[in-house]
């Protein structure tokens, strides 16, 4: 093993520890932020006792949950019941691995350690745990795996509420994954690559994809709400109908693991939106951040990336405490009858316009993005006109009566 390879392995391990540690911290504070923001929106104060501004509330909650009694329902399928939280938690944590969170950091060391021998690194370290060539496909694959945790939790609990929650989540997540994947095809067409680092680089070259691919962004935003099981799509846990849905039977740390997985998913979805559509760690209106890597650049871009991501987290929280829940058939209707056809049609539109722009000889850059943005504004207007009441989605219809009622005298 060469010293350089050893150096890379060491840096990789350091990055894994730092990123997952930071993710846990962030998740803890998103829980706190959710409680505070929801309280403010309801003219309350929220948790403000533990630590400054209540920031240590997450620690207190974690400790409390560890000390609580673990319950095992009598009808539970024991092995799967214990395994399910891990199945939900691990994919939620692993998705973070491919998201680039800052510009490359210059690292240089040359040490000789006992047992390991000479270990060295010299150059720009990419600020991503693993820049996989499969990029966001990896994230889509892992979020599909996350469904197993929820479904198995629902089934193995041996409770009808949990089972219904699990079933609903499988139906919902699978439906919306298709629309999410379809909306990302447009991103793939424009960037020519699925690697997130390459997508960020492409956005630096032209415009942020939120302008060039607005419809994709809208579709992905809606599906992200559905994928993270958050209001208005929290069908798997609907408090009013299913008590707590798939985790109704869980207590103590097992419940907390579901909670952490849910918020880690929320953070990943936000980070993914920031990366795919808002330029990732890119600083707008300057090319300073793309020059030779320095520590300062890495820090500034890291802050910018976190700002973008946490803004999306705020949007998630904001929407959750504003909008009421969909009915289940409306969720399915929106997913299959609206988002999926829209995403497919949009892929065609984008493919055609990219082909046309290439034929017209427009170079990939800011002007290219501006033309696509103009196109998107037109489509956005049409879509939102269509989406409004009475055209595609409708409320209760006066003329509609179920067959049973119609046949009765």
């Amino acid at each position: 093993m060469t010293p350089e390879l050893k150096g890379e392995i060491l840096l990789g391990l350091v990055k894994i520890v730092v990123v997952f540690g930071a993710l846990q911290l962030i998740v803890m504070n998103i829980v706190w932020a959710e409680r505070r923001v929801s309280a403010w929106m309801q003219d309350r104060l929220g948790p403000n006792r533990v630590g400054p501004q209540g920031l240590l509330q997450g620690v207190a909650d974690g400790l409390k949950n560890m000390l609580k009694e673990e319950t095992m329902p009598a009808n539970a399928e024991k092995g799967l019941f214990v395994l399910a939280p891990a199945l939900a938690f691990i994919p939620a944590m692993m998705t973070q691995a491919v998201i680039p969170f800052a510009s490359p950091l210059p690292v240089r060391f040359d040490w000789t350690w006992p047992l390991v021998g000479r270990i060295a690194y010299d150059g720009a370290m990419p600020m991503v745990i693993a820049d996989l060539p499969v990029g966001f496909l990896y994230i889509l694959a892992l979020t599909s795996l996350g469904v197993y945790g929820v479904v198995l939790a629902g089934w193995s609990s041996g409770s009808k509420y949990s089972l219904l929650g699990g079933l609903r989540s499988s139906a919902q997540l699978i439906s919306y994954e298709i629309a999410a994947g379809m909306s990302l095809i447009a991103v793939m067409i424009l960037s020519g690559n699925v690697s997130l680092t390459a997508i960020v680089a492409k956005q630096q070259e032209s415009v942020w994809f939120v302008f060039a691919l607005s419809i994709s962004f809208v579709v992905f935003l809606v599906t992200a709400f559905a994928e993270t099981n958050r209001l208005p799509f929290d069908m798997p846990e609907t408090e009013s109908e299913l008590v707590a849905g798939y985790h109704a039977e869980y207590s103590s740390m097992k419940f907390l693991v579901f909670l952490v997985a849910e918020y880690a998913n929320l953070f990943t979805a936000s980070a993914l939106m920031a990366t795919l559509f808002f330029g990732g760690w890119d600083i707008p209106f300057t090319t300073w951040d793309q020059g030779a890597p320095t520590v300062l650049k890495s820090l500034v871009t890291l802050v910018l990336f976190l700002t973008k991501t946490l803004s999306f987290c705020f949007v998630f929280i904001w929407v959750r405490w504003t909008l009421p829940r969909f009915r289940f058939d409306q969720v399915m209707q929106l997913g299959w009858k609206f988002l999926l056809p829209l995403a497919i049609a949009y892929v065609m539109v984008i493919a055609t316009s990219v082909y046309a722009l290439d034929l017209a000889g427009v170079a990939f850059g800011a002007r290219y993005g501006a033309i696509l943005f103009a196109l998107n504004v037109v489509i956005l207007y049409l879509v939102f006109w269509l989406l409004d009441r009475g055209r595609l989605i409708r409320g209760a219809r006066a003329g509609y009566r179920p067959a049973a009622v119609r046949s009765s005298p």
Binding site: W40, D43, R44, T322, F384, D388, R389, G390, I393
Partner: protein, 168 residues
Amino acid sequence: MTIGVKTVHRPDHEVSYLRATVKGMALTFSHLFRPKVTMQYPEQTSAPDWTISNRWRGTHRMLTDEQGRSKCVACGLCPQICPANCIKLVPGEDEEGNRYPLIYEIDEFRCVFCGYCQEVCPEEAIHVGVHYENAEYDRDRFVYDLERLCAQTHPVSTLWDPSDPKGE
């Protein structure tokens, strides 16, 4: 028999989902910055727009006369009327024939805070209090004896007055 369904045709701007959504989002966002109504209880025990009602029925207090003796004449009406049976009264009589309580105990855990004892008392001795901070370290401490009832200093309830039902 069928149910007649009336269809209401409202204009677009009233039934629009999107406009309603945007309006709702704006409303919740504006609430982020509004003054909060929470009273931070242990540090803050009163707020400008909050007072405890003077008809509040909390733990009891026995009123005393000028010599510091309880006003109770041990007539036995309060244990008689108490629906929770939480008042223990053993009457005694001094050499001048004045009745007084030898034992007067109220079990605050059994008490349902109906206020009948205060209502029925001919001497206006026993009262329910405008008071809610009752925490103790021991269950036994919740049986208040006569000495403790006399030692309470909190304001007493005015109860509900039938001639002034809204407390005006």
